[in-house]
Symmetry: C2
Subunit: 320 residues, 2 copies
C-alpha cells in the first residue's frame, strides 16, 4: 500500500478516530463486537478510514487491549483503511505483526510536552519514526507510517509554538521515513487564521495528500478551523463520531471535532465525501448503546441535513 | 448619527440580537428590568450594539411591548447603540418618536417567503424602506436605517437563491435610503464558501462598514460562516448571547450564532473587539435567571478562554 492508493490526492479523505482518540480517557468502552458493529455500520455509510486503537500494554490502556482481534476481523473483511497508534519500539514491532494499514506515531511540537507526555525528547521521537521505517522495510510490511505533531498550534505547558518549528519537525519526520505528517490542535488553542497559515505552509512543503489536520472542538472553533484547513489545501482531516473524547484536565471540554459535522462542512464546500450523513448519524445509536454514559456532541445530528438539498447537483438547494 | 460614527470602518462591530431575534419565538421572556440588567451588564463587558426589540403591536408580540420604555432607559443612560425592528409604516412612525439609534427593516430574498412572512411583495418591502427614509428626513431624526435580507442563502419555501438576486435587492435598498444592508441565513442553509462569495460581492458593492452578516447556527456552521464573512471583508456581524433563539418549525434547531463564541473567533483572528469574554459569559447567568427554561448554547462558556492567552500581545499564547 502507498499513500497514493490509501489517500486520494484529488478529493478529501475524512478519518474517524473515535475508537482511538475518543476512547483515550473514557472509563467504560465498547466491547470488541460493539466496536466491530460501529466500524461496519460506519463503513456501510461510506466511511473508509478509521483510527481503531493503540498498541499500548493492556494494563495501561485496557480499552485498546483488543486491537489485534479488531484488526484481524476488519482487515480480512473489507476495504477499511485502519490506523493504530504505536508509542514505542515494542508497539511498532507488534503493529508489524498485524494487518494494520497505517502505523501512527506522535512527536510533540515542544520539548516540554514531549517529556511530560512520553518521557522522550523530540529527537528521540523522530528516531522512533526512523525505527518504524527501518523495521517496516525489514519485515516487508505494506503499512503507511504517519506522524501526528501534538500541540502544533500552542502548548498547554510551553505556550506559543512557532509555525517554523512545526515545519522543521514535519520535514524531519518525512526524512526519517514517514509517509504522512499531521498537525494536531491537541488542546483546542487554534483559530482559523492560524490553521490556514500552518496548513498552507505545510501544503507548500509536502503537497495535499501527505498531511493531515487533526482538530479538537474545545472552544467551538473546530469546524471553522477545518474550513480554513480545506481552504489552505488540506485534503485529509480527522474527526470523531459524536465528538467523542474530552480531557480530564479541562472539565467540560469536548473532544475531537464532530465527524458528522465535518462531513456536512465538506459537502457544503463542494467536496463529495461519498458518505451518507443520515446513515452516519444513525451510528450514534450504536455509540450510545455501547457507552450510555458518554455525552455526544454535534449539530447536524440535532438538526438533520436540509431536506431540499440536491447533493447530486453539487449541493444546491432543490425547489420544493 | 451616521454610519461612520455608529459603525467602525477600521475594525469589527458585533451586534447582540438576543433581545429581539432571540425572543422572537419564546413563550416566556424577561421583564423590562431584567432586559435592562442584561443590557447594562453586557455593555459593561464591552458590547456596544444591541437589537433590543420590535415595534410590533403588543397583542402580536407581547415580548416586545416594553420597547419604548426600554429605549428611553437605555438611550438616556449610555452610549449604547440600539436597533429595533419595524415591519410596517405604523412601526416606522412609532420608531421615529423614540430615541432608537437604528430602525431595522426586512426584505425577503424570494417573493414566496416575502408573501408568507409579511404578506407584501419584495417591491412593497423596498417601498417601506423608502418610506422610512422619507419620514426620517421629515422628522429630522438621526436614526440609521438598516435592511436585513431574509433567506439570502437559500429559502425554506422557494429553494435556491442566486447571489445576483440578493445583490440586486441590496442595491435597491440602498437606493431607497438604507444606510446598511444585511444578508441573513434565516434558516441556517449557508456554508462557508457561499458566505464568502456573497460577502465578497457585497463588500465590492458597498464597502466594509455598510453591510452586516446575520447567521444562524442551525447546522453547526455558524462560526465557520462568520470566519468566512470576516475573510471576505465583512466587519459587522450579529449573534445572540447563549445562542438564544430557535425555530418552532425545526425541532432542535438552535438560534443565532452564539455571540460569545463569535467574540472569541474575532479575537483569534486578530480583531480586537474590546469585549471582556469572561464578563460576557457571566451575563448568561442573568439570561438564565430571566428565562430558566431556555437552553443556552456555546463552547467558550463551557471551556473558558485559554488562561495563557495574552490579548494585549495580539492574542498570542503566553509562556506559563
Amino acid at each position: 500500500m502507498s499513500t497514493t492508493t490509501a489517500y486520494r490526492a484529488d478529493g478529501v479523505t475524512l478519518r474517524e478516530v473515535a475508537l482511538r482518540d475518543g476512547l483515550q480517557l473514557v472509563k467504560a468502552w465498547p466491547t470488541t463486537s460493539q466496536k466491530l458493529e460501529w466500524l461496519v455500520r460506519e463503513h456501510s455509510a461510506g466511511v473508509t478510514h478509521f483510527e481503531v486503537g493503540s498498541f499500548l500494554p493492556a494494563n495501561r490502556a485496557p480499552q485498546f487491549a483488543d486491537i489485534r482481534e479488531l484488526l484481524s476481523c476488519v482487515t480480512s473483511a473489507s476495504a477499511i483503511h485502519t490506523s493504530a497508534l504505536a508509542m514505542n519500539e515494542r508497539g511498532i514491532d507488534e503493529a508489524l505483526t498485524t494487518q494494520v494499514s497505517e502505523i501512527a506515531c506522535v512527536v510533540s511540537a515542544t520539548e516540554a510536552h514531549s517529556h511530560a507526555n512520553i518521557r522522550r525528547s523530540r529527537d528521540q521521537s523522530i528516531e522512533l519514526v526512523r525505527y518504524a521505517a527501518k523495521r517496516r522495510l525489514e519485515s516487508n510490511h505494506g503499512a503507511l507510517i504517519s506522524v501526528g505533531i501534538a500541540m502544533s498550534f500552542g502548548c498547554s505547558i510551553a505556550g506559543p509554538v512557532q509555525p517554523a518549528e512545526v515545519l522543521k519537525i514535519a520535514e524531519a519526520c518525512l526524512s526519517a521515513g514517514a509517509d504522512l505528517v499531521g498537525i494536531a490542535d491537541t488542546v483546542g488553542f487554534a483559530g482559523p487564521n492560524q490553521v490556514y497559515e500552518l496548513s498552507a505552509a505545510l501544503h507548500a512543503l509536502v503537497g495535499s495528500g501527505r498531511f493531515v489536520v487533526h482538530l479538537h472542538d474545545t472552544r467551538g472553533l473546530g469546524i471553522a478551523n477545518a474550513s480554513a484547513a480545506l481552504d489552505a489545501g488540506c485534503r485529509v482531516l480527522d474527526g470523531s463520531l459524536g465528538g467523542l473524547g474530552g480531557c480530564p484536565f479541562a472539565p467540560g471540554a469536548t473532544g475531537n471535532v464532530v465527524f458528522e459535522d465535518l462531513v456536512y462542512l465538506c459537502e457544503t464546500k463542494g467536496f463529495r465525501t461519498g458518505i451518507d450523513i443520515d446513515a452516519l448519524i444513525d451510528v450514534r445509536r450504536t455509540q450510545l448503546e455501547a457507552m450510555p454514559e458518554e455525552r455526544l456532541y454535534g449539530a447536524i445530528a440535532r438538526s438533520g441535513v436540509p431536506k431540499n438539498i440536491d447533493w447530486a447537483a453539487g449541493g444546491e438547494l432543490r425547489r420544493q
